[in-house]
C-alpha cells in the first residue's frame, strides 16, 4: 500500500462526518446536541438529582414524620433533622428542622429508597448554581417542600403508583378501623345483651 493511503482514508471519514452532521437526522449521524439554555432535551423520568420533601395539598401537611431514617441511611450524611415539639414538650410527627446540604449530597437516591412514609423524593431541578454555597446551597425545610402535583408532573408513573399504593393502604386502614369499631360495637352489644339475663341467674339458682 502506498504510504499515506491510511491518512487519506481517515480524512475522508472526517469529511463525511462533517457533511452528515449538517444534513442528516440526529440519529443518523447528524448533530444531536442542543443549545442548552434556550433549548432543552426532555427530562427522563427516572433522572434523579437532589431530594425534596413532599406535601399533600398544603405545605403544613407534609408527609415527613421526622423519623430520622433517611438521615441515618444517607451515605455522605447530608441530612439533618430535628423533631418538632409542642408547648408541653410532647414530640410531634413533623420536623422542626430538615436541612439538606446540597454541596455534600451525592444524588444516590438512597433516602428515597429508605423512606417508609413516601416523604422524600429525588427532584429534577438541577439549575441551583450559586456563588454563595453557605447561604444558597444549604436547603432548609421550607426550601425543600414541594407539592404532590409537582411530583406528578416530573415523575407521572412513579407518582401515580405511589398514590395508588397509599390510597389502598389508607382504605385498608379505614376498613380495618371500621371493622375494629364494628367488632367493638358488636362486642358491646353482645355484652349488653348478655348482661340483662345475668342478674336473674343467681336468683334462679337460689
Amino acid at each position: 500500500m502506498i504510504f499515506g493511503t491510511g491518512i487519506l482514508q481517515g480524512l475522508m471519514v472526517t469529511l463525511k462526518n462533517f457533511v452528515t452532521s449538517y444534513f442528516k437526522a440526529p440519529d443518523e449521524g447528524g448533530i444531536f446536541t442542543v443549545e442548552y439554555p434556550e433549548k432543552r432535551l426532555p427530562e427522563k423520568e427516572r433522572f434523579r438529582n437532589f431530594p425534596f420533601l413532599l406535601y399533600d395539598k398544603n405545605p403544613e401537611n407534609l408527609r415527613c414524620v421526622a423519623c430520622d431514617i433517611c438521615a441515618k441511611e444517607c451515605p455522605p450524611k447530608c441530612i439533618y433533622i430535628v423533631r418538632e415539639f409542642d408547648k408541653d414538650g410532647k414530640p410531634l410527627k413533623r420536623p422542626a428542622v430538615f436541612d439538606i446540604d446540597f454541596t455534600v449530597c451525592m444524588n444516590c437516591g438512597i433516602c428515597e429508597e429508605a423512606c417508609p412514609f413516601d416523604a422524600i423524593y429525588m427532584d429534577h431541578e438541577f439549575e441551583i448554581a450559586s456563588a454563595d454555597r453557605h447561604a444558597k446551597l444549604l436547603y432548609h425545610r421550607d426550601d425543600l417542600l414541594k407539592s404532590n402535583e409537582y411530583f406528578h408532573k416530573i415523575r407521572p408513573t412513579d407518582a401515580s403508583a405511589i398514590d395508588a399504593r397509599r390510597r389502598e393502604a389508607e382504605e385498608k386502614k379505614k376498613a380495618a378501623e371500621a371493622a375494629a369499631l364494628a367488632a367493638q360495637k358488636a362486642k358491646e352489644a353482645a355484652a349488653a345483651q348478655a348482661k340483662p339475663p345475668e342478674p336473674p341467674k343467681p336468683a334462679a339458682g337460689a
Binding site: G6, I7, M12, R46, F47, N107, G109
Partner: protein, 385 residues
C-alpha cells in the same frame, strides 16, 4: 583550571546532565491528578517515578463506617467511567458473603449493563489515547457521540448518566422496559458501523502506526509477574479473561472470543480494545435476544431495599472479581455480623496496571511516555480511591 571553569558544560566530549521534570499533577495528559517524576537524558527517559494519591478520599475506610448498601454509590465514584461494572463487582462480593441467589433476569440485566459499560470505556479510552497522540478531539468527539447514546440509556434505566448506583444485592434496582431493550438493540445495530468507520479513521493511519508500534512493549512475563490484567495483559498475548476464567454471573452462556495481541506495544493495546468491543457487541446481541422474564430482585433481599441498616451478612469473608473494562476489579469484604463491613478492600486494576509504567517508559522519549500512560488506561478515581 580557569579554562575549565569558563568552558561550556559538556563541550568537547558532549556529555550532558540529566534533567528532572514533573509531568503533572495538573497536566491534561495525565488523565487526572497524577504526577510522573521523570528524569531525562536529552529527550530519553532514564527513570520515571509515578506519584499518586492526589485524589485519595478514603474510600475503604468510609465503606467500613457505612451500611453495605451505603457504599454502593461510593463504588460508582471509583472508576467513574464504568459505574455499572464497579457496582457489579461489589454486589457480587456481598452476594457471595451472604449467600444470595440472583434471579436470572437480573443476571442478564447486569451483563447487558456491564458490556455497555465496556463499550463506553473502550471507545472513550481510544479517543483519549488519540488526544495524547496529538489528534486533537476528532476521534474523541466521535467516540463521545457514541458514548452519549449509551449514557442516555443508563439515564433512562438507572436515573443517572455516570453515577448509576443501579445494582443492589440480589438483583438490580429497576427493570428494563421493552422500549429500552429495543433501544439497546438499535444501538447494537449501529455500533458496528461506527466501529468500522472509527477503524478506517485510525487503524491504518500511518502516523498512528509509526507512533504506536513498537513503543512501550510489555513482555508477557513481566505482565504476568506484575499481575497486570485486562486489555493490557491480553495485548501482550496472555489469554486471561476473568469472564472466561471465572465464569462469574452467567457468562458461560454467551459465545464470545478473547482477542489477544502479539507484541504488547501501544498499538496492540489500542487494537485489542477495538476487537474487545466487537466481542462485547456479540455478548450484548445474545443477551438482548435471550433475556428471560422474571424477577429482578431476590425475594430474600427485597425487604432490605427499604432498610439497608438491617442487612447483616453472616460472619465471614468474600472476594469477588469481575472483568472490568480496565482489568480485574476485585472486592474483598469481611463481615463481623454487624451492619457494617469489618474490612473492605478494592483491588483496583488502574493502580496495579500502573506499577509497570517505569519499565515501559525507560529508554523511550517523553512524548512516548504520554501515550504509554494513555494506553495503560487509568482513572484516578480508582487509582487513588
Amino acid at each position: 583550571m580557569t579554562e575549565k571553569t569558563f568552558s561550556l558544560h559538556g563541550a568537547g566530549d558532549m556529555d550532558t546532565q540529566t534533567l528532572e521534570i514533573n509531568i503533572g499533577p495538573q497536566h491534561p495528559s495525565t488523565h487526572g491528578v497524577f504526577r510522573m517524576n521523570v528524569v531525562l537524558d536529552g529527550e530519553t527517559i532514564v527513570s520515571l517515578k509515578p506519584v499518586m494519591g492526589y485524589l485519595h478520599r478514603n474510600h475503604e475506610q468510609i465503606a467500613e463506617n457505612m451500611s453495605y448498601t451505603g457504599s454502593m454509590p461510593y463504588t460508582d465514584r471509583l472508576d467513574y467511567f464504568n459505574s455499572m461494572s464497579n457496582n457489579f463487582g461489589y454486589a457480587m462480593a456481598v452476594e457471595k458473603l451472604a449467600n444470595i441467589e440472583v434471579p436470572e433476569r437480573a443476571h442478564y440485566i447486569r451483563i447487558i449493563m456491564a458490556e455497555l459499560t465496556r463499550l463506553v470505556n473502550h471507545v472513550s479510552v481510544i479517543g483519549f489515547l488519540l488526544n495524547d497522540l496529538g489528534a486533537f478531539f476528532t476521534p474523541v468527539l466521535y467516540a463521545f457521540r457514541e458514548r452519549e447514546k449509551i449514557l442516555d440509556i443508563f439515564e433512562e434505566v438507572a436515573g443517572a448518566r455516570m453515577m448509576c448506583n443501579y445494582l443492589r444485592f440480589g438483583g438490580v434496582k429497576y427493570d428494563l422496559s421493552p422500549e429500552v431493550l429495543a433501544r439497546i438493540a438499535g444501538i447494537l445495530k449501529k455500533f458496528p458501523k461506527f466501529l468500522e468507520e472509527f477503524e478506517t479513521l485510525l487503524t491504518k493511519n500511518e502516523i498512528l502506526c509509526m507512533r504506536c508500534q513498537n513503543v512501550g512493549v510489555l513482555p508477557a512475563e513481566l505482565a504476568v509477574s506484575a499481575s497486570v490484567t485486562g486489555p493490557m495483559l491480553r495485548a501482550s498475548g496472555v489469554n486471561y479473561d476473568i469472564r472466561k476464567a471465572d465464569n462469574y454471573s452467567l457468562y458461560e452462556r454467551f459465545k464470545f472470543r478473547v482477542p489477544l495481541g502479539q507484541k504488547g506495544d501501544v498499538y496492540d493495546r489500542y487494537y485489542v480494545r477495538i476487537l474487545e468491543m466487537r466481542e462485547s457487541l456479540k455478548i450484548l446481541e445474545q443477551a438482548v435476544k435471550e433475556i428471560p422474564a422474571g424477577d429482578i430482585m431476590s425475594k430474600k433481599m427485597v425487604p432490605f431495599l427499604k432498610s439497608p441498616r438491617n442487612f447483616k451478612p453472616p460472619v465471614g469473608e468474600a472476594y469477588a472479581r469481575v472483568e472490568a473494562p480496565k482489568g480485574e476489579l476485585g472486592y474483598y469484604v469481611v463481615s463481623d455480623g454487624t451492619a457494617q463491613p469489618w474490612r473492605y478492600h478494592v483491588r483496583a486494576p488502574s493502580f496495579i496496571n500502573l506499577t509497570i509504567l517505569e519499565d515501559l517508559c525507560i529508554g523511550q522519549k517523553v512524548a512516548d511516555a504520554i501515550i504509554i500512560l494513555g494506553s495503560v488506561d487509568i482513572v484516578l478515581g480508582e487509582l487513588d480511591r
